[in-house]
């Protein structure tokens, strides 16, 4: 019992269903997550195009009435945050943690399988909610009550919101199962020589993000349950007596709507770091391979992660600066929030410094990594405008916020994920994706994405409000709206179309990509010491043993982090 898992903890599957559907294998589960994320990205992307069309031609009501618009915005945000980026990260975490740590599989493979299959009904509930009476949830992805609690207030707050809440409950259950597995595997299942300080930095990213997620999700669960009871159980945790169409609703109710916001953002803020940290750290992981230099500042970066993680739990109030909170508490939240820029800047500087006097190989994963550095800069410094409480009074609920979070949660994460996918694709499928198509995809993704969301900051400077069906209802923002909406919409379409290059590349390369050996990128970490794709149990023979730090590059030379002792002679590199 007190042995690491030198044996695969479950027998190799023999049936198709056991192998590819209800698989226990972390690699298959990882790919299942990634495919689900890609599928949902199409849905989320289409919704964003519908949003853009409406904003481009509001007077024509091309795509329907306001209730539809609000439902699209709500579901676009929800799907992108929870069912695209989160799932894609879960995919990479599943795929990479055991491979990079030298484990046969996750600590508890069955729980891992359950975690994925809990996501499936969750996705189905979210998608089904478009078709229920009243339509999908329409109170914004933040689901603030009373709007989300009272169907009389907005049609989407009928059955659609119930589906949304149940879908979220399943999502959280799934995340908890997956997260418990990630942490236990990282703590308990590392191979010989793999001390915590020698873990590839991406694993640190998954580790901190999972800790944050496990700490932050429970209060959201609490909030969601209480909201369900307010809606269906007659309680009034978050709702107060109100008048809609001269009718008094909920007589005598004396709940506290702000309580929901506190519980939501206690999750919501750490959640954004749950999304961004693994992505940025996967980018950090990729950069040394293509600069052929050791990573700059491994330890300072990890410490910065800890600081970011801790601070992120105590700054949630910056989403509520104008709710009438006590001004001293507001000032506290502001002071604490902007401190986060300090550890974040360590990450930024380390990303930059890793390029110092390097021998850069501009392969596709590296292109995405470079664009990530730029996007972190633009998005992060936008965060400073919002974290500073006085300027947030003006920027709150404007497109400045929309621009800020799309640069972070949308651009940084998606560009990192694309880079990671191009990078680890050979390990997943034994073939490379086309570099040529990859480069086309890069230019038509990175350029519009960064530009679109920078332009949205300008709209925000002009005071243009988010979640509006027709910004033309106001005169004050005419300039910001009219001048910028066309470039934004046009680029959003280009961006979306460019994804078909990616889909084509992804699926075609499964069959036609160039076949690769164990270590196509001349990389150091353990996953490159096993065949591509890795078989059941990850290493055909004994597990590799770690002898070095993870990023020992020296130009075209490199020292693998570890090796499989029995078959050491022909392993890649020059060790």
């Amino acid at each position: 019992m007190h042995e690491p898992m030198h044996e695969a903890p479950h027998a190799a599957p023999t049936t198709f269903i056991g192998k590819y559907i209800f698989s226990f294998d972390h690699k298959v589960i990882g790919i299942q997550y990634l495919l689900t994320a890609i599928l949902m990205a199409v849905v989320g992307g289409l919704l964003s195009l519908m949003i853009r069309l409406q904003l481009q031609h509001p007077e024509m009501q091309l795509l329907g009435p306001p209730e539809a618009y609000l439902a699209w915005v709500t579901m676009h945000g929800t799907i992108m945050v929870f069912f695209v980026v989160s799932l894609a990260i879960s995919g990479f975490a599943n795929f990479l943690i055991p491979l990079q740590l030298g484990a046969r599989d996750m600590a508890y493979p069955m729980l891992n399988m359950l975690s994925y299959w809990t996501i499936v009904p969750s996705v189905l509930l979210m998608l089904a909610s478009f078709f229920v009476p009243g339509g999908a949830a329409a109170a914004g992805w933040t689901m603030y009550p009373p709007l989300s609690a009272v169907p009389e207030a907005v049609p989407g707050s009928g059955l659609g919101t119930t589906f949304w809440l149940l879908g979220m409950a399943l999502f959280i259950a799934s995340f908890t199962m997956g997260g418990l597995n990630f942490l236990t595997t990282i703590v308990n299942c590392r191979t010989k020589g793999m001390t915590m300080w020698r873990m590839p930095i991406a694993v640190w990213g998954f580790f901190i993000a999972t800790v944050l997620g496990l700490l932050a999700f429970p209060p959201l669960t609490a909030a969601a349950l209480m909201l369900l009871f307010d809606r269906h159980g007659g309680t009034s945790f978050f709702v107060t007596e109100m008048v809609v169409n001269d009718q008094v609703l909920l007589p005598g109710a004396e709940g506290t709507p702000l309580l929901f916001q506190h519980l939501f953002w206690f999750l919501g803020h750490p959640e954004v770091y749950v999304l961004v940290l693994p992505c940025v750290l996967m980018t950090m992981e990729i950069i040394p391979v293509f600069t052929r230099r050791p990573m700059f500042g491994y330890r300072p970066s990890v410490w910065a992660l800890f600081v970011i993680g801790f601070l992120s739990m105590i700054v949630w109030g910056h989403h509520m600066f104008v709710t009438g909170m006590n001004p001293y508490i507001g000032e506290y939240f502001s002071i604490a929030t902007v401190i986060i820029t300090a550890p974040f800047a360590i990450l930024g500087v380390n990303l930059l410094a890793s390029l110092w006097r390097a021998k850069i190989k501009p392969a596709v994963p590296m292109l995405f990594a470079l664009a990530v550095i730029s996007a972190v800069g633009f998005g992060g410094f936008g965060g400073l405008f919002l974290g500073t409480v006085v300027s947030d009074i003006y920027f709150h609920e404007t497109y400045f916020v929309v621009g800020h979070f799309h640069l972070m949660i949308g651009t940084v994460t998606l560009l990192s994920l694309f880079g990671a996918l191009y990078f680890w694709y050979p390990k997943m499928f034994g073939r490379r994706m086309s570099e040529k198509l990859g480069r086309i995809h890069f230019w038509f993704t990175a350029v519009p994405m960064i530009t679109i969301f920078i332009l949205m900051h300008m709209q925000g400077l002009g005071g243009m409000l988010r979640r509006t069906y027709d910004p033309g209802a106001y005169d004050y923002n005419a300039g910001a709206n009219m001048m910028l909406r066309f470039p934004i919409t046009a680029m959003a379409f280009i961006l979306f179309l460019a994804q078909f290059v990616f889909f084509w590349n992804f699926f075609r390369s499964l069959k036609n990509g160039e076949e690769v050996g164990e270590n196509p990128w001349d990389a150091t970490t353990l996953e490159w010491t096993t065949p591509s794709p890795a078989g059941h149990g990850n290493w055909p023979g004994a597990l590799p043993v770690v002898e070095h730090d993870p990023y020992e590059y020296d130009g075209d030379d490199f020292t693998p982090q570890g090796r499989v002792v029995e078959t050491a002679s022909e392993e890649g590199g020059n060790a």
């Binding site: 009435p65 209730e67 914004g140 009373p146 709007l147 009272v150 207030a153 007596e241 109100m242 008048v243 001269d246 709507p257 700059f296 500042g297 104008v322 009438g324 001004p327 507001g330 902007v338 401190i339 820029t341 300090a342 550890p343 800047a345 360590i346 500087v349 380390n350 930059l352 390029l355 110092w356 006097r357 390097a358 850069i360 501009p362 292109l367 550095i373 730029s374 410094f381 400073l384 974290g387 500073t388 409480v389 006085v390 300027s391 009074i393 003006y394 404007t398 990175a446 350029v447 960064i450 530009t451 920078i454 332009l455 300008m458 400077l461 409000l465 979640r467 209802a473 106001y474 004050y476």
Partner: protein, 270 residues
């Protein structure tokens, strides 16, 4: 990775990072905001300007470094591995810079305005109440007695008594209810806010101020208009289908004209 394509792609990246930086800095300098029309708004603008300059410098610096490293990224300059000491030094430098820059924005440039808006209490501000409901704004002045009359949700009747004021409340008799927010130039105003249904938010872009209306929890904001003119009051919190056009006109008047207008109004039950 054909070696021939390398310089071109590096060139492309350098061009992209350079152009996007210039483009952003240029765009930020355009006058997106209208001229500020309140005293506190001036303080808010000062913070925004401070941040634009400070972060603008950092973004330019960051991209300059990025471009430079890319441009030189051919492995020809001698590389020596940074020692842990160097790594930690470059951990501390950004921390110091960011702490100073960011906290200066909050504490030095920002705090006085924050205090003015939410802590300081002007003497004898003009009392105004703003009430939000789906999807309309009401403005109430307390009348000669300076006291807001009582109300009851049961009494609300969209046509006759939109605020549900009680006709047996003495204070309510002289209350003045309109749907246009009139403010006197140069006098501090104190606006109390409440809502009949969901959360709304009071936003006048020209004043730069914003304040949520929370059910069951009246909120308040104080500011001083400094520019005559007509402005728009926008609802800035998603509140339902017609959220996007929940607006009301705002008029800043000469103080004398304001007083005259106020005196000429009939009370709610007069």
């Amino acid at each position: 990775m054909e070696p021939r394509s390398r310089p071109r792609i590096i060139l492309g990246l350098v061009a992209f990072f350079g152009l996007i930086t210039l483009f952003t800095v240029g765009l930020f300098m355009l006058p997106w905001r209208s001229e500020v029309a309140s005293d506190e708004g001036g303080g808010i603008d000062a913070v925004i300007t401070y941040l634009l300059v400070a972060t603008g410098a950092l973004v330019v610096l960051g991209h300059y470094v990025l471009i430079r490293f890319l441009w030189n990224g051919n492995g020809e300059k001698g590389y020596t591995r940074p020692t842990p000491k160097v790594e930690w030094m470059w951990g501390i430098i950004p921390v110091v810079i960011m702490m100073i820059l960011s906290e200066a924005g909050v504490l030095v440039v920002g705090a006085p305005t924050w205090k003015k808006l939410y802590v300081d209490r002007a003497e004898n501000p003009v009392q105004i109440e703003v009430v939000g409901k789906q999807f309309q704004w009401y403005v109430r002045y307390p009348g000669k007695d300076g006291v807001y009359g009582d109300y009851d949700f049961e009494e609300i009747d969209g046509a006759d008594n939109p605020l549900g004021l009680l006709d047996d409340s003495d204070a309510a008799v002289d209350d003045i209810v309109t749907s246009k927010l009139r403010l006197p130039l140069g006098r501090p105003v104190q606006i109390r806010m409440r809502t009949h249904d969901v959360i709304h938010s009071f936003f006048v872009p020209d004043f730069r101020v914003k304040q949520d209306l929370i059910p069951g929890f009246p909120t308040e904001i104080r500011f001083t208009p400094t520019k005559l003119g007509e402005y728009e009051l926008a609802c800035s919190e998603l509140c339902g289908l017609a959220h996007y056009r929940m607006k009301a006109p705002v008029l800043v008047m000469e103080p004398e004209a304001f007083d005259k207008w106020l005196a000429a109004q009939r009370g709610y039950f007069e």
